[in-house]
Symmetry: C2
Subunit: 259 residues, 2 copies
């Protein structure tokens, strides 16, 4: 099995090293990850400036390719330019911080896996629910387990798995659940500050308003100590509204207005 | 009616000025747009650095707020910080270049409208299918028409409209169609160049592989000279795979591996 690993925390983050060590036990691993942290970049791709690729060494040995771009750039660059043929699987993570509910939209970790799904390569994004993680061994084990499962069972073209692991000791984990994206959202606050030159600037802060309580929802699953596994795709059509909009008769509206 | 207007081409682009002029005929308009071009930034939000807000003047008069961030930042900042209360509608555009099929994922124009939908404000993203547009009067008219329609009919919470207008004379327009997101994707190519210091760098280029032919698909609609209107939401759950994954029994797998 050949696996491309990426992330959004950058190639020198602890999470990606734990993931690579775990996956090397079962596969040939190529690392292509951002040169610097790219959290909350969403599905950004770099088109206004060119990309640079650097060879990144760790403990005197080649570890992988660092790209001066976003997580989605790394996956495109890895599959199109750095690997001789597409990998069997792309795994993104292990992200420092959960990617559930609305955060899926903003997440660079998820966008790396989604870019793979767009390129018809099965993919997994994996995150742990804390920014202060001491031990990545359990999420690394979960990643290995799910990689084997996806490699055996396959995923529909265009679908990826978004995995979130509670940051608690393994013996306290309740189990694994297949889940849906939650509806919890951020109550955004812009904290206004004044720079030494008297000019205003704003930091985005806020609180997650938790509205998800059913165990088959990602946000509720992790709160109840379950590993959450959500199948995610990139068809954004709202089919229900597509059907109901037929009653709008916008076609007629257009002719009425322009003739 | 109060409308917040944003875009991804930047506050000084021709498209946003045409849109603002058209919408001012029917509403009170507040402009909050990126200070510089932000194409293909996807649903990126700025968290690693603070945001700056500038008052932007055009022809000696206040035109709107320029934000040193992404389209999604602009909508958050506008609704949370610059407007006294949320607007009735957010309109993003008029984008220079189409946003159909897979481009919806990468688009900053669409992400501005999607951020509004996340904040429970009805929203429209509008694009014209060319980067070299001389006359924005027809897409500006379409925007005004659809704003009135959305204001009257409403949209479900979390749903926005993604509108694409062919860049042809109005008399050649076939009509307006309600459409779904297409499946056409990019065949990415990284063009390798060498800088004056002998180092490689890469430009992302490529061709859109068109696979959409039915008229109720965005990409096919615009090819056939129709204005395309797609209802888009941000629930990324693949419900079909959610159901089929029940057969995986991953819960059992976890217990088998860890006990």
């Amino acid at each position: 099995m050949r696996i491309l690993v990426s992330n959004d925390d950058g190639i020198d983050s602890a999470g990606i090293h734990a993931l690579v060590n775990s996956l090397k036990e079962i596969a040939e691993v190529t690392v292509v990850a951002p040169h610097t942290e790219q959290s909350a970049v969403g599905h950004s791709i770099t088109m206004q400036t060119p990309l640079r690729v650097f060879e990144y060494h760790k403990d005197g040995k080649f570890f992988g390719y660092a790209v001066g771009g976003t997580p989605a750039d790394c996956v495109k660059m890895g599959i199109r330019n750095l690997m001789t043929s597409p990998p069997d699987l792309v795994v993104s993570g292990i992200n420092h911080g959960s990617n559930t509910a609305i955060n899926i939209i903003y997440s660079g970790t998820v966008s790396a896996a989604r870019e793979a799904a767009i390129m018809d390569v099965p993919a997994i994004a994996i995150s742990i629910t804390s920014h202060a993680v001491k031990d990545f061994s359990f999420p690394a084990k979960v990643a290995q387990m799910l990689v084997k499962e996806v490699h055996e069972k396959g995923l529909p073209l265009g679908t990826m798995l978004n995995v979130n692991v509670p940051n608690i000791p393994e013996e306290k984990i309740s189990g694994i659940l297949v889940t849906k994206q939650g509806k919890s959202k951020w109550d955004d606050i812009y904290e206004k500050r004044v720079d030494p030159y008297g000019r205003n600037y704003y930091w985005l802060t806020g609180n997650l308003l938790e509205v998800d309580h059913e165990l088959d929802i990602d946000q509720a699953a992790i709160k109840n100590n379950y590993v959450s596994v959500s199948p995610i795709h990139f068809d954004l059509t709202d089919y229900k509204t597509f059907d109901s909009m037929k009653e709008w008769n916008i076609e007629k509206l257009f002719h009425a207005k322009t003739t």
